[in-house]
Amino acid sequence: MDLGFFPTLTFENRKRNAKELAEIALVIRRDIINSLVLAKSGHSGGPLGISDFMASLFFGGYMKYNPQDATWAERDRFVFSAGHYCPVQYSCLARAGYFPVEELATLRKFGSRLQGHPGREVKLPGIETSSGSLGQGISIAVGMAISDNLIDKNNRKVFAVTGDGELQEGSCWEAAMSAAQFKLDNLCWIVDNNDCQIDGRVRDVMSIYPIAQKFEAFGFDAITIDGHNFEQIFEALDMFVSNHANKIRKPTVIILQTKMGRGVSFMEDNYEWHGKPPTPAEAEIALEQLI
């Protein structure tokens, strides 16, 4: 595989095995490093940590979408409530063919459609909503799921990712309450549990544990998995797909236990890499490791 600077390859969305997805995740991680080093600001840790899951979701045949028709009426929708994770979403969208891969080089730059946090105003294909102020995207996803399940009564799914620190925002629990109340079995809420936030460990800054039990108490079907183990990712996504198909009348939450900065030795599990980009020298080391 060509691993040059933003190689122009795109990937189809189909059933794949762990090895194939691991290779795609590697491309995504390289995109994250490359776009962040050019941007000279942005978030490295979270996006690298969730790359394995994102590769599976976008390129493992779990989500229905059409890059040639971004607003296709039958598409499943994906919302990054943790908007600061957008470098990984931008990479997935580009690699799916929503927009040219070269555009990843414009992240956070003047005039770019790749805003520092996703903005619907700039009309980047594949971005369903602006997000960035934490705890809002997940409620938007609940609204989308209500529209699909209770009004249009169609077969679409909604996927939404929050961080774990994001769960400190009270509005997340308002969203959880309503997702259960409306029996949104078409909603898959993903919590990226890397236990890191800007000020330190989530458990020290303000604990949100136990996560799964909280969601279960709210009325969710919860599963906690190793977010770097593809077999477990498949199991969790299969569980949601089956929950949706069987109309279990409960929302699903997947708690991904991940390592922030996964794949880059000096970033891994280090909360200091929450909100900073690599220097060119650091990026060089990172890219050597991401092969």
């Binding site: 602006s130 102020s133 809002q136 938007i140 609940v142 309503s178």
Partner: protein, 340 residues
């Protein structure tokens, strides 16, 4: 154009116009959905709920969630209306309004009920007096403050028919009803309710009727010809009508049931200063919180009656003649002339 004098036709709360407007919208468009936040019988989204139960969603006492769920519905092609008291529908959810509603240009409509001091006995916590300042600073937002029941109904229907975020501010108490079903209404268009050339009174909400009373007294007692403009849409503001008022009348008094700082009067002043600077006076809440009491007692105490408008007009007219000759302390919110 000859303007027919407006007559008092009775009194009715503007929230009834909102509630009935929602039902009318629901009849004409099946994409209209309504979100409730527990006080549906107060803001009268209950009318819609009773008529279209399958298109009504109760979100509970969670205004942040309700606002953002509305965004998710709007991004799915629905036309969601969310309503609560303005105290919660404009402030508790302020971040959601800014990022999720306005930055997204989401087709979300917010009904801010029980606004202003006329919510009465509930006291300062529930008397929202600041939302115009906040909401008119949000890009993409359309902000409407209807003057009576009929206008509230028309504004609600017009909001549902346009695309983009809209906030409609209405009240709890019965207020004078003086427009009719036939009175024209258009979002973004101010209306001249009384012609006049010596001074222009620009008002919104329940202060429009007080402005008409003040204009009548000015004519009766002083022979002053006052133009009365109903500025129902505060954003986008009708620059043409406001500028014309400044140019033709040479002096302006604004009146609103809201803080003076940042409110409708400030919006008018932005237009006037830029296009045709003339002396202005501002009738509104003088930088304080409200308190418990009956609506009329509070309007009296806080200076929101035709008398303050009348006195404000005399003060402003004096300044018109002296052309800014006397220096006034910038924070002075009182009037030199107090005749009534």
């Amino acid at each position: 154009m000859k303007i027919e004098p407006l007559k008092l036709l009775g009194s009715k709360p503007t929230r009834h116009g909102f509630g009935e407007g929602l039902v009318a919208l629901g009849e004409e468009n099946e994409n209209v959905v309504v979100l409730g936040a527990d006080i549906t019988g107060s803001v009268l989204t209950s009318f819609f709920q009773n008529r279209f139960p399958e298109r009504f969603f109760s979100i509970g006492i969670a205004e942040q969630n309700a606002t953002t769920i509305a965004v998710g519905l709007a991004l799915s092609g629905k036309i969601p209306f969310f309503s609560s008291y303005s105290a919660f529908a404009a402030f508790r959810n302020a971040d959601q309004m800014r990022i999720s509603v306005c930055y997204n240009e989401a087709n979300v409509k917010i009904g801010g009920g029980h606004s202003g001091i006329t919510v009465g006995p509930d006291g300062a916590t529930h008397q929202s007096l600041e939302e115009i300042s906040f909401l008119r600073s949000l890009p993409n937002m359309t902000l409407i403050v209807p003057c009576d029941y009929h206008e509230a109904k028309k504004a609600t229907i017009a909001a549902g028919r346009m695309t983009g975020p809209v906030y409609i501010r209405f009240g709890r108490s019965a207020v004078p009803m003086f427009t009719t079903e036939e009175t024209p209404f258009e979002i973004g268009k101010a209306q001249i309710f009384r012609e006049g050339s010596d001074i222009a009174i620009i008002a919104c909400g329940l202060m429009v009727w007080q402005a008409l009373l003040a204009a009548e007294e000015l004519e009766k007692r002083k022979g002053i010809s006052a133009r009365v403009i109903n500025l129902a849409t505060i954003k986008p503001i009708d620059v043409e009508t406001v500028t014309l008022a400044a140019r033709q009348c040479g002096v302006i008094v604004t009146a609103e049931e809201h803080q003076i700082f940042g409110g409708m009067g400030s919006a008018v002043a932005e237009v006037v200063v830029k296009n045709c600077p003339v002396p202005m006076e501002f009738i509104g809440i003088p930088d304080r919180f409200g308190e418990s009491g009956e609506p009329d007692e509070l309007l009296e105490k806080l200076g929101l009656t035709w008398r303050e408008i009348y006195n404000g007009c005399l003060t402003a007219l004096k300044r018109k003649k002296s052309e800014f000759s006397s220096f006034r302390r910038p924070t002075d919110l009182t009037f030199e002339n107090k005749e009534v």
